[in-house]
Amino acid sequence: MPLIEIDRIDKSFPSRHGSISIMSDISFDVANSDFLAIVGPSGCGKSTLLRLIQGLDRPTSGTIRFRGRPVQSVCHEMAMVFQNFALYPWLTVKENVALGLEARQTPLDRVEAQVERYIAVTGLVGFEEAYPRELSGGMRQRVGLARALAVEPAVLLMDEPFSVLDPLTAESLREEVLQLWRDPQLPPEAVVLVTHNIEEALVMADRIIVLSRRPGRVLAGVPVNLPRPRDRKSPAFYELTDYVYSLITEGRTTVSTRGDAGPAPTTS
């Protein structure tokens, strides 16, 4: 049984001129130990989709199942890393990381232990008492990551987590996330990453769901069978980048010819 099943999801918002369809007929699965990336152009509903998965928002039609059960309310076996960090400016790093644990009524000593552990894991030792505004963007997102990992979620949801960081910081943080992902001691069974950066998706994910322009539809599910660590300069990487890029830019025409989950080009 897949960990998450997304089954023919539609989402539309009411607007002054009737309703605007954000995404339509979206289906895919997230398996155990899957690192899945969702890519697509601006406004295709990627971030909305992520929120639907956790149950922060309801789809207009269709169902999302987690471990076979429909997601009816906010699912606390998933945790989110936000694009703009969403850290509480009046809480210290430690208090921010403890936020999710407190909400779960975790005993105090366990909160302490978990917070300490994930602060160490994310390289925040020494910054426990700092306030978010005193940290650089990269450090802030580490706090966001620690906060999400501290609740030991089954699924880690990441909403463009590197997009507001400068390229160098983003690159090193990506590496660290991958290292954490490889560590079998650490929690998430699966990761869903939303990004508009195709390269980022190809560096990190095992599989890529490509969405079309609004209303977002699944253009293709592209498995990334490149060996890790991924070499951005390899011809296969180039080829796959080109392929995903052309899927997005050609948009609908590709849908009609290739259908829902078109075959990926041969990869080494």
């Binding site: 400016p89 009046w90 407190e102």
Partner: protein, 602 residues
Amino acid sequence: MAEPGTAVERIRRPTSRAPRAVPLNVGGATSATPTSYGPKLRVGVTVSALFAPIVVASFGGHLGPVSLLLPLATLDLLQSFARMLAAYVLALGFALVYGYFAASRRLGERILIPVLDILQSVPILGFFPVAIVFFVQAAGQGSWVGPNLASIFLIFTCMAWNLVFGVYESLKSLPPDLREASESFSVHGWQRVRRVIVPATINRLVYNSILSWTAGWYFLVAAEFISTSAQTTALHGIGSYLLTAAGTGDVDALLAGVTVLVALIALLDVFVWRPLGHWAEKYRYDTTPSGEGEITGGPARTAPLRRAAGFVYRGVVTGVTRISTPLVGLALSATPARLRASGPKVGRAGRTVILGGVLILTWLLLIFLVVGTYHVFTGPISPLVRDQFLLLPAALASSFGRLVLAYLLSLAICLPLAIYLVGRPRVYRFGLPLVEIVASVPATALFPLFIFSLFRYIGFQGAAILMLTTGMLWYLFFNLLFGLRAIPPDLREAATSFGLDRRQYYRRLVFPAIIPALLTGSITAFGGGWNTLVIAEYLQYGPTHSFKVLGIGELIDVGNYEAGGFPLMVAALFTMVIAVVAVNELLWKPLYRRIVDKYRYD
């Protein structure tokens, strides 16, 4: 200077206008498309233009006893409206010129802004006697022009400062790259005024105009019932109408007056301010960086709120730098250099003591100066007035106590109401315009009604506190409301995502998040409260009825009305100004410094 852009503009502009044929009935205009507000606006203007001749014609014949005939309430109201309009036009012109020079000339800034600071911290009713004497003398005794000019001037004083700061702050906060761009393309002279300065100020000016009008209506009652020890001149207008109705106990007339007043305010809101607000939206330049364009709520609906929230937060920053009252700066620079040099060692407690001492000394000095000057130029102060001087400390204390109680009452009303409204989008959408209209009804107009129906139950003290509450409530309410609305959606989302329960949600997110807004709201509420004291502690309606409770506002009024009371009035005024400065320096500024860095978002 004729630049090519203008010609193109001139040709293009007519096509973008709304259709020319505008039905003169209001109902027809409301059916216009929601995006084109031109017609509505024009109907509003036309309607008021139609009444203008009647109003102007009615000015001359009114100096007799105020009549309470029901239809006359409307006529009186239109006279008041004409006065408000005149005062507003003057204030607007003044604000543009004054604000521009304050913002663009270094010397202007050094002098004009501190002057304005002092002017706005003096309660407007302090201008009363001077203004009346000046204008009535200038226009000749018995002429209808003098009292009208005095009244217009008084309304002007409660409209203008706010507009000036609007112009000044929007010019100062013009993003540097816009200023650099206009310099880089050498945009000068008239073109600069038209393309940069006016557009930069419009948005803020519209918003502050609404505030100015609200303040204007609020003080209208007082500004029309011009009364001094020498003479009582009741101008015809809705303010004096209401007071006279209260004085004679004519509840029907009172209700009729309140009804037409509320109707006019609601009409202005719907047909003038709302369309103007929408129009001014396009002159907003504090562009918040948006995400990658995912639709989360429809930009059209959130835009005005974001704007409002921006004002609140910009208000925090500029408002508090403005609190750095120049008087204190002067006082501190007068303290020996040795004391100041040991600044860090003195510490917070030491600073408080020194500041408190300086303020008390300044206060004593001012009182001494007032008494001395009066003694030298006019003669000895009458024993009756002198006795009242001794009441100043007690009066100040009881006024402050009243302010604190009214503040707590306001908070107890506003916080739950704001949280309730923000938590329910549907109620919010219908509730907010309603609350806005209720808020724009001047509580001063209702005060006579309050006294009549309530003081039997809550006493004069209770009525005064209730009145103060109406002068403080809305500042707090709107600040809290915008503070709540300004909580970044991703912080809310994170709370939901991590499953914070209700208690944690308020403890971790909502209460910390609104602290800056609560502080701004409190500062402005107390500002409003000090101003309201003059009205809330003393009211003379009709020849025999008067309402008074011991307080600093009451002493200002008593000084104003009693023979030989002028020094008392000035002394009470100085006492209040010193108290305002003391509360700002000893309470708000330290609190603000400690709080704002921790609780602001980036």
